[in-house]
């Protein structure tokens, strides 16, 4: 049995995680600009944009994959994963080799979604009792 892609709504939890990730990214950019300089802030900004775009792309691919049958879904997701990774590789190569962004800043920027998920999980377990 398959489920139409349009029929799957976006959960409030995911919307909150996206907003938290954006807020973390913005604050990190501003803080790193004033504390560590332009190159570090550029790394955070570029990494954050890449990470957030990749997350949105991942959402679209996963949404399309779960509407397929199991085997087709696995193959679809594997192909899209290779595509995403290749595009990330080319972009990161350009950022590291040609733009010469700060590597630590780039890694920090690439972690904004992970930080968003962790922050949301901590918030839920501390203030909402895990619900």
């Amino acid at each position: 049995m398959t489920v139409p892609v349009e029929a799957i709504p976006k959960e409030p939890a995911q919307k909150r995680i996206e907003i938290i990730s954006l807020m973390i990214w913005g604050s990190l950019c501003v803080l790193s600009f004033f504390l560590f300089g332009q190159s570090f802030a550029l790394g955070v900004a570029a990494g954050g944009i890449l990470c957030l775009i990749n997350f949105q792309w991942l959402y679209r691919h996963a949404k399309a994959a779960v509407s397929l049958t199991t085997n087709k879904g696995k193959a679809f997701m594997a192909k899209r994963y290779i595509l995403r990774l290749a595009i990330m590789a080319v972009t990161l190569y350009a950022l590291i080799v040609y733009v010469k962004v700060d590597i630590i800043g780039l890694l920090l920027g690439l972690s904004v979604v992970i930080l968003g998920i962790t922050t949301y999980a901590c918030f839920i377990y501390i203030f909402a009792g895990g619900e």
Binding site: M1, T2, V3, Y59, K74, M77, L110, I114
Partner: protein, 114 residues
């Protein structure tokens, strides 16, 4: 599993064959250093990509099965899937950054080349 082993074998073969050709004109110490860096980058990225691919495939398989059994829970299953996939994929991206640092922005290059 056979596909995994064959992919790893092909990656290792490419690295072993191409690394000496790429650094044919350099000094022996530099060749050795860059050969090891290229091998580490190729094998490391290969392992990271294979692990991530297998993990994501299992995740999607479970989500597809779950949604087929209970279509009303598709939203919650999709959210859990996305969060899991994002966590898994970030590991591959970190590995990718480390490989790019090893190959193109190696901090130890000054000790080898001088």
């Amino acid at each position: 599993m056979k596909k995994v082993y064959s992919s790893l074998g092909v990656s290792a073969l490419f690295v072993l064959v191409l690394a000496p050709v790429a650094f044919a004109a350099a000094s022996p110490e530099t060749v050795s250093f860059f050969s090891w860096c290229a091998m580490a980058a190729g094998i490391g990225m290969g392992i990271a990509a294979v692990g991530t691919g297998i993990g994501q495939g299992h995740g999607v398989q479970g989500a597809c099965d779950g949604i087929a059994r209970n279509p009303e829970a598709s939203g919650k299953i999709l959210t859990a899937l996305i969060l899991g996939l994002a966590m898994i994929e970030s590991l591959a991206i970190y590995a990718l950054v480390i490989q790019l640092i090893l190959l193109y922005a190696n901090p130890f290059i000054k000790y080898v080349v001088g």
